[in-house]
Amino acid sequence: MDSLLASIEALLADNTIFTLDTLSYYGEGLTTTVQLVFLSLIVGLIAAVPLAIGRGSKRRWIKMPIFFYTYVFRGTPLLVQLYLIYYGVVFVEGIQDTWLWVLLEKPFFPALVAFSLNTAAYTTEIFHGAIKATPRGEIEAARAYGMRYSLMMRRIVLPSAFRRALPAYGNEVIFMLHASAIASVVTIMDLTGAARFVYARYYAPFDAFLFVAAIYLCLTFAILYLFRYLEKRLLAHLKPASG
């Protein structure tokens, strides 16, 4: 490991900006960004499934609150949501004395909450659309077999809805990655935070931001590749028959 570091250092010897020191900032930033985006996507995904089913419910008291939630979170900028959650909680009297403060003191958790709520709102709408688009014939067939609502959802509606939602959801994942760039406004040292730090330190906007743009491109490419693979596997039945 030491010899590896030494060889990298030798490689970077002529470089005034990209020293081992600054690269370690980018490295930490990469870890933070991936953690933040990955965790919020997981939370958002788990929350979105029941919300999407509820969103299509016939009962108004289930449907309307969920609609209100997605409307608010899709209708306001993520930056504003992040500010409200990060700085807003402070104005709750006496919050510093509760156990919540352990989580809210550092910027990571408030950002995670904001991102999760935001992506959950979008994912809910994506899934809701996909569920609504289930062909009537499939539902009628399930009923003809005497399936209960829950069984029908589990066996028929959700599996095909997930497949239909896949391309749109892949977009949401990429949007989330790019939206996470605003995390640095609440002092999180994510990828963009690292780039802003290097920029301010060396007055080198091009080098700092081009480098970070390249990292984002690599991440996006990895996500694209993953979703293309999933689509190939899960949507195989939609491909035109060859031959």
């Binding site: 700085y87 510093q96 403060w101 003191e105 910027p107 406004v185 002092t187 040292m189 330190r201």
Partner: protein, 255 residues
């Protein structure tokens, strides 16, 4: 022939002497851009005042000349010097190499200080590596304070970087930031003089090392006015020795 040479030499000598003497006693005008509190600003009745103005007047008195202040916008302040609208600039001008190519600077007369600010209940002596360990330090992103803290304490403390001083104050209010390192005037106006009011300065004001805090402010003259610059440098040294400088400094930067 010899006599004539001698006469010429004498003539030149007298001329040189006369011009030097003249440069030292000549009354001058000084260009200044207002307002930039507390360095230079106007009192409610329109009088010019501030650290630069008081120190400038004291320097002129020490040199033994009359000084007149000329107000000039910052954009045209160096061209105005070249165009002889005034003979010196004393307007919180940071000494740097770019400006050195155009003007002649006096010795630095002031380095804007930075200071540590914390809630009054934080108990700490002079902040150092040991006392700052494990704390969260707030700075404005990309400022010299950011560089200073990152290099000296980045390994032992958490450094939180904010876009504006207001965001930093908000997080200090809520207890997310333990101690902030700011431009002294900025910290004074946003923390010490604010409504919240429960803040104090921790330790000394910091202006060293030069690597971070720069060369400080200098008085700018035209390149050829070396005698004038020399006279001001001597006067500045005298004022620092006899306590006048300290007195003026305390008037505007007392804690």
């Amino acid at each position: 022939m010899t006599l004539r040479k001698l006469f010429t030499a004498g003539l030149i000598g007298t001329a040189v002497l006369a011009s030097t003497a003249q440069a030292e006693v000549r009354d001058i005008r000084i260009g200044v851009d207002v307002p930039y509190e507390p360095m230079e600003y106007r009192t409610p009745d329109g009088e010019l005042t501030g650290f630069d103005i008081d120190l400038g007047n004291a320097l002129c008195a020490e040199v033994g000349i009359q000084c007149e202040w000329v107000v000039q916008g910052w954009d045209g302040i160096i061209p105005g010097l070249m165009a002889r609208k005034y003979d010196a600039i004393m307007s919180s001008m940071t000494i740097n190499d770019e400006r050195r190519e155009q003007v002649l600077f006096s010795d630095p007369y002031f380095t804007p200080p930075s200071a540590w600010f914390a809630p009054t209940d934080l108990e700490m002596g002079n902040p150092d590596v040991e006392s700052l360990e494990g704390l969260t330090i707030g700075v404005q992103r990309g400022t010299l304070q950011d560089n200073y803290v990152t290099d000296l304490y980045g390994d032992v403390a958490d450094v939180s970087r904010y876009a504006t001083a207001d965001d930093l104050v908000l997080d200090m209010d809520s207890g997310r930031v333990d101690i902030g390192f700011l431009d002294y005037p900025v910290g004074k106006s946003t923390l010490l003089d604010s409504e919240a009011g429960d803040y104090k300065v921790v330790g000394e004001q910091i202006t060293e090392p030069k690597e971070y805090f720069g060369d400080g402010f200098g008085i700018a003259f035209r390149q050829r006015d070396e005698d004038l610059a020399k006279a001001f440098n001597e006067a500045l040294a005298t004022l620092k020795d006899n306590g006048t400088y300290e007195e003026i400094h305390a008037k505007y930067f007392a804690e």
